[in-house]
């Protein structure tokens, strides 16, 4: 390249560049001018609009939290409501002498050191026109005293807010659950905008499961406030949509009856309507007071509920997994009949033990009755809960057939009840054992499974749901605590129809046979629950069960008497009635309740009172 062309190139480049710079300057000035036009538009053209919004300060956007939906039982008994609570608030800039005011106030209401410390902390952070809470949850006397002395305290205000209250206290606490303050973890999976202004969120039970229904939709208002932060007028308002009310299937009278009947025992009672899946009674004991959680529970109290004696927070009805023991026999028996593994009239001779055919070790599988039940058939085997009969039956069916048949009743699966965290229990099979224990299935384990022991575990809700399925002759409903939703907007009631499926037997007479056998348990001459059957006005079908406690963690804290109690067997009972047209199915699981027959009266009395309350009055119409 020659020198000359280089120079001309160079000057061309400079020329080109300067044009670009000029264009850039022009564009930049135009755009800056555009920004100024925009600013002038906001500040001059729309000045009065924005000025109104801001003038003497002022427009504040306030979230209007919706009222949380209420919870009722099936008869309209209130289970969860919102009650006003009174709080003492101070607007610092209106108080002339803070020390004197606090001193005088402490003569009227009780102020703890923690209250004062918290107040002073807030005083430093907040602006002087913002309200600061000095005391929360004033009682009625304190409110009255403050009202009388109000004139002495400028800048001191009593403010009413709504907070959740559970009028039934501990009763049905595991079903209802509780609300608590919204924490960091909750914020991650809620629509934060909708919770602006809300203080509470469902933390457990139905309060959590139906949070979306209960909460409602936030509203907001633009308010004009003066320099002291006092609201002068509302400029614009979008009303909140209150949450929907829940109407439950629970009957609080029966619920309380069951809670009392269980006494001091830890355990669970569940009653379900076989033809709807409605959960009428849902007891898990021990219970807790959900009101403790509403305003924040102390760490000590929480620890006591979480880890203390019998773990009151533990919802046994859906989390507790127990060996079903003999309560499983009606289901396996039905399976035996339906798969043709045994003839209902076939006689098995029970000598008190059973030898597994081909077992060279000659291990004796014992019956609970040392000397045996003698000759039993299908009905008497269930009536007397003969283990040997069911060893034989289980041996003939084999574990996989047992598994497949029991699965139809929902064992080993979640029932789908409207609560979070339900456990599945264990319904063993050869495949299950290979997968979970890495071992092959031994024939002896089939025998143990045949009497509801070994690997087999069920939750009380599973047992109740399976019993209801038995009572309704194969109509398996998803158990439901919620009966209907009451939509406040428009005052509509939307009923819920839980999904259900039907179990078909090869021979539907087998339903009759199982009914008869279970009736004998309560009303037969040798029935394991015959004591309960005396003098009954209706026939109840039932089955007792006793599950061994497989040792406990040795904890030095318990005294001797407690250990002895802890080692007692679990008592179980399932039942439904009246036979022929059952209206209620009940499952009772009592930890260390010793024997299932002790639990039968709980089921009987529930069914009796249910009939008295709902059936006879309907018939009278």
């Amino acid at each position: 390249m020659s020198y000359k062309s280089h120079v001309s190139d160079h000057s061309y480049e400079v020329y080109l560049f300067r044009i670009r710079v000029i264009v850039a300057v022009i564009i930049a000035l135009i755009l800056i001018g555009g920004l100024l036009v925009r600013l002038a538009w906001l500040q001059v053209v729309d000045y009065s609009h924005f000025s109104k919004l801001s003038e003497s300060n002022r427009i504040r956007l306030m979230a209007l939290p919706p009222n949380r939906g209420l919870i009722y039982d099936r008869n309209g008994v209130l289970l969860a409501e919102n009650i006003p609570t009174y709080h003492l608030e101070i607007i610092p800039e209106q108080v002339k002498d803070m020390t004197a005011t606090l001193r005088e106030l402490s003569k009227i209401v009780s102020l703890s050191d923690a209250d004062l410390e918290n107040f002073h902390k807030q005083l430093k952070v907040k602006r002087s026109f913002q309200r600061i809470a000095l005391r929360t949850h004033l009682d009625e006397k304190e409110v009255a005293r403050l009202a009388v002395n109000r004139y002495r305290f400028p800048g001191v205000d009593v403010k009413a807010r709504l907070s959740r209250y559970y009028p039934q206290g501990e009763s049905a606490s595991h079903a209802i659950g509780y609300v608590g303050r919204i924490n960091e973890k909750d914020l991650r999976h809620i629509d934060v905008g909708n919770y602006r202004g809300s203080n509470y969120i469902g933390k457990s039970g139905l309060e959590k499961f139906y949070e979306k229904q209960l909460h409602g939709t936030v509203g907001h208002q633009d308010v004009e406030v003066n320099a002291q932060g006092r609201i002068l007028r509302v400029i614009d308002k979008v009303a909140p949509v209150p949450g929907n009310d829940l109407i439950l299937n629970l009957d609080m009278a029966l619920q309380k009856q069951a809670e009392i009947a269980l006494g001091d025992l830890a355990g669970s009672v569940i009653a379900i309507e076989p033809d709807t899946g409605a959960v009428v009674v849902f007891v898990s004991k021990p219970m807790f007071d959900p009101n403790l959680f509403v305003h924040g529970i102390s760490y000590k109290d929480y620890n006591k509920l979480q880890h203390g004696d019998n773990k009151p927070l533990f919802n046994r009805a859906i989390f507790g997994q127990y060996p079903p023991g003999s309560t499983l026999k009606p289901f396996i028996g039905l399976g035996g009949l339906d798969t043709g593994s045994i003839d209902p009239n076939e006689i098995v001779n029970c000598k008190g033990y059973y030898l597994l055919p081909g077992d060279k070790t000659k291990r004796k599988y014992r019956d609970w009755k040392k000397w045996g039940h003698g000759k039993v058939n299908f009905e008497t085997a269930i009536e007397q809960s003969c283990d040997v009969y069911f060893y034989e039956l289980a041996h003939r069916m084999g574990i996989d057939k047992i598994h497949d048949f029991l699965a139809k009743f929902g064992f080993g699966q979640k029932t789908g009840i409207d609560l979070y965290g339900e456990r599945k229990g264990i319904l063993p099979s050869t495949e299950w054992k290979k997968k979970n224990r890495g071992k092959i299935w031994y024939p002896g384990e089939t025998l143990i499974a045949g009497i509801g022991q070994g690997y087999m575990l069920v939750t009380p809700i599973q047992l109740a749901s399976a019993t209801a399925t038995l009572a309704s002759r194969g109509e398996r409903f998803q158990p439901r605590l919620l009966k209907a939703i009451h939509v406040a907007d428009g005052d509509k009631i939307i009923p819920l129809n839980p999904p259900h499926e039907r179990i078909k037997l090869h021979n539907k007479h087998n339903w009759d046979r199982i009914d008869n056998a279970m009736e004998l348990v309560v009303h037969g001459p040798h029935g394991t629950a015959r004591a309960t059957g005396w003098g009954m006005k209706f026939k109840m079908a039932g089955k007792t069960g006793t599950a061994q406690v497989f040792g406990i963690a040795q904890d030095a804290k318990y005294d001797k008497a407690t250990i002895a109690k802890k080692l007692r067997d679990h008592g179980l009972f399932i039942g439904f009635g009246p036979v022929g047209h059952p209206v209620l199915a009940v499952a009772v699981v009592a930890e260390n309740g010793e024997h299932g027959s002790h639990m039968a009266p709980i089921a009987r009395d529930l069914i009796k009172n249910y009939i008295k309350k709902y059936i006879t009055t309907n018939d009278a119409k």
Binding site: A24, L39, S54, N57
Partner: protein, 377 residues
């Protein structure tokens, strides 16, 4: 002829101060502009920060550091910057890869490289190094650039951009692209190519929409109608617009902005500081502030136009316009014509890692302006 101009040059800088400034490689007009801007920034920050002197002190320390950086870089002759450009670029790219492999995660993105003594953000450095590299490359080629040069330029911009976008830091990635684009623009890319690219970008908007995250779509939708979500995403924009609009022509006065002083404006010492300024000083104040910015930008472009060689021109031009983009995006954002993207108001917003980068860029501009080789050819 040359003698004449040299004499003229000398006579124009007769006085003592000018001599010292020249010796220190400081461009007096640019320095004046920057000082004006920073002074205005401190005044408004004092009000936005509730009159906190501690805040002002911290900001002044930052400004001092940034000034030192500018001063040091101004001492480096542009020829030296030219020689270093490819090495810086290579180091920058290496660091970006290191960040991806071993960087510290901050706020969900990997941006920081822990050098044990200081934590270092290589993406910030790329805002300067990418235009340097591109200017280095294009200054060697005949201008306006031909297609092969353009393609290589594209690659030179795309590599750091993608590495930064992977961190992910889309804001910085976009600024790097912008800086690169300005180099190519000043390199004299044909208007029709520019127009064609512009149309192609416009056409790709609907396609891009499909690939955007929900929260990104939300930002755009909120921009179009902030009133749709007054308690959520639209809150910032609504409050900021109220502040600006209620400021009126003359403003409510220093420390008298109710929107600002009563906490209505979010991030009011950082990204939204312009709202505070507009509320308290009105349109008139904004005219003055934007004039200072315009003065700085025009001075920078003047330096670019008079740079001695192609490298200096391209680099200076790109740095000037990048500074403008900061300003435009921030003011556009707070006044509700651009989405909320988290770009600070340059040299005024409190803190911000970008202040040092910006001042380093001004250091380069000073160097380009003052290290004039006396041409002897």
């Amino acid at each position: 002829m040359r003698n004449n101009s040299a004499q003229f040059f000398d006579s124009a800088y007769q006085n003592r101060t000018a001599k010292i400034l020249r010796f220190l490689h400081i461009d007096p007009l640019l320095l004046f502009g920057l000082l004006m801007l920073m002074a205005a920034g401190l005044v408004i920050l004092y009000s936005a920060g509730d009159g906190s002197t501690a805040l002002i002190e911290r900001q002044m320390i930052r400004l001092a550091i940034a000034f030192t950086v500018m001063f040091v870089i101004a001492q480096i002759p542009q020829q030296q910057l030219y020689l270093w450009a490819p090495w810086f670029f290579a180091v920058g790219i290496t660091l970006l890869i290191l960040v991806l492999l071993a960087g510290d995660v901050g706020k969900g993105a990997q941006r920081w490289l822990n050098l044990y003594v200081v934590k270092f953000q290589p993406s910030e450095m790329m805002k300067l190094v990418t235009p340097m590299m591109l200017a280095w490359y294009l200054s060697e080629k005949p201008l306006p650039p031909r297609l092969p040069s353009l393609l290589i330029s594209l690659v030179l911009v795309a590599v750091p951009t993608l590495l930064i976008a992977l961190q992910p830091d889309l804001g910085t990635a976009l600024l790097v692209v912008t800086a690169g684009f300005f180099v190519v623009y000043f390199g004299g890319i044909q208007w029709r190519v520019l127009l064609g690219t512009g149309l192609a970008v416009l056409a790709s908007v609907p396609v891009l929409w499909q690939f955007m995250h929900d929260y990104q779509k939300q930002r755009v939708l909120t921009l179009l109608n902030p009133e749709s979500d007054p308690l959520g995403a639209g809150y910032h924009i609504i409050q900021s617009k109220i502040a600006i609009g209620s400021g009126g022509l003359y403003g409510k006065g220093w420390f008298n902005g109710t929107q600002s002083q009563l906490d209505f404006i979010p991030e009011r010492t950082t990204d939204f500081i312009f709202s505070v300024f507009s509320e308290e000083f009105g349109t008139m104040g904004a005219v003055v502030l934007l004039s200072i910015y315009a003065f700085i930008i025009i001075r920078c472009l003047y330096i670019a136009a008079n740079a001695q060689d192609s490298f200096g021109r391209l680099l200076a031009g790109s740095l000037s316009l990048t500074f403008f983009v900061y300003l435009f995006v921030n003011v556009g954002m707070v006044s509700g014509i651009l989405p909320v993207v988290g770009v600070p108001l340059p040299l005024v917003s409190y803190g911000g890692t970008s202040m040092v980068t910006l001042m380093a860029g001004f250091g380069m501009l000073m160097s380009i302006s003052t290290h004039r080789r006396l041409v002897t050819k």
